[in-house]
């Protein structure tokens, strides 16, 4: 008598087509129950790709904008090298023009006023020399008198 282990029928259900004319399922019986769930690869790929593509587009757009901005800046500077200098010159000219715009009559009046106001300031300096420092300490010679006689020498 042929000995059969209790597990034999379960071990090779596929190898006995004669016993079961129904087509053997490709996957174990438990598989059909999970057949409604898509394989993980089929589920994850589209959402991740969308996220990556969005990020990629944002980064790419940012880089392009930066490149364009930098390039534009240098291009502008290359094609219009004198523009900034001209602006500076124009500003200087405007400042000079503002000075020159002061009528000469006004300058003359200010100069007339300045002759007296400046003189007043100079006068203060002269007056300050009248400190009479010679009178600051006239007692030094009196001290000499007091030192005329040293009683310690008696």
């Amino acid at each position: 008598m042929e000995t059969q282990t209790p597990n034999e029928p379960n071990q090779s259900p596929v190898t006995e087509p004669s016993a079961n004319p129904t087509p053997t399922p490709l996957y174990p019986e438990t598989m059909p129950e999970d057949s409604t769930v898509e394989p993980p690869t089929k589920q994850a790929f589209p959402s991740t790709a969308k996220k990556i593509s969005k990020k990629f587009i944002i980064i790419l757009t940012t880089v392009v904008i930066i490149i364009l901005a930098v390039g534009g800046y240098f291009a502008y500077g290359y094609f219009y090298p004198a523009t900034e200098t001209n602006e500076a010159v124009e500003t200087a000219d405007q400042t000079s023009a503002q000075t020159n715009d002061v009528p000469s009559d006004t300058l003359d009046i200010n100069a007339a006023t300045s002759t007296l106001t400046s003189a007043a300031d100079s006068e203060s300096t002269i007056i300050n020399t009248d400190d009479s420092s010679v009178a600051a300490d006239a007692s030094a010679t009196a001290g000499n008198v007091g030192d005329s006689v040293d009683e310690n020498n008696f």
């Binding site: 203060s124 010679v134 009196a142 008696f154």
Partner: protein, 248 residues
Amino acid sequence: MKTISSKSKVALLTAFTVVFATVPVSQSGAVQGESGNNNSTTCNRMSALSTTGRATVAAHAATMQSDFATRLLTMTSNKAAIDQKVLDARTAANIKFEEKIAELKSRDGLTQEQVTAINTYQVNMQTAEATRTEAVDIARTAYRTALSANVRIQQETLTAAVATYQTAVNAAFATATEDCTNGSANATLRATVKTARETLATVRQSTGTGDSIRELIIIRNEAVRAANEAFAASAETYTATLIAALNV
């Protein structure tokens, strides 16, 4: 006779013993001579000290008076020099101002109103300048008056203190010379001279004018500054008025 002669011998022996034990005859004359010599030396030395001391004090007192006079003269000459500088500066400024006014008036196309405006500006400026200089001069005069008073008081006080010192020292020397034989004459002279010197030093310290003069300078400078600022403010107003009148 024998009894008397025995008593006499005893008495004479006792007397001679006492006398010879206390004052040897051979030496009594020498002590008197040395004492005289010492007194003479002390008196001569005191006399020399008196002569030298009096002369030194008198010389230094004279130097002090000369210094005082020199200081007053220097102050006077400084004042004159500063006054001249101030006058020159004011004159030069006024001449320049007149020149500027003449330049303004020489412009072509001035209307009568504009010429009048220039004249008004000129008068106002000169009036303001006169007000300024008057205020400045008042401040300077006040400073100098107070300064002269300070210096005069200081010199008078020191002169009196030196005179007191000189009198005290001369009197001390005179006393010491007269009492040169007295053993305490030297000590008395020392004490008197020391007291006189310390008294003079105390007066000197109390007559310092440095702080009071600095205070006077501050007051003067503040008055000058205020006068100049008032003038500058007025000048600014007159200048703006003239600029508007000339419509420039």
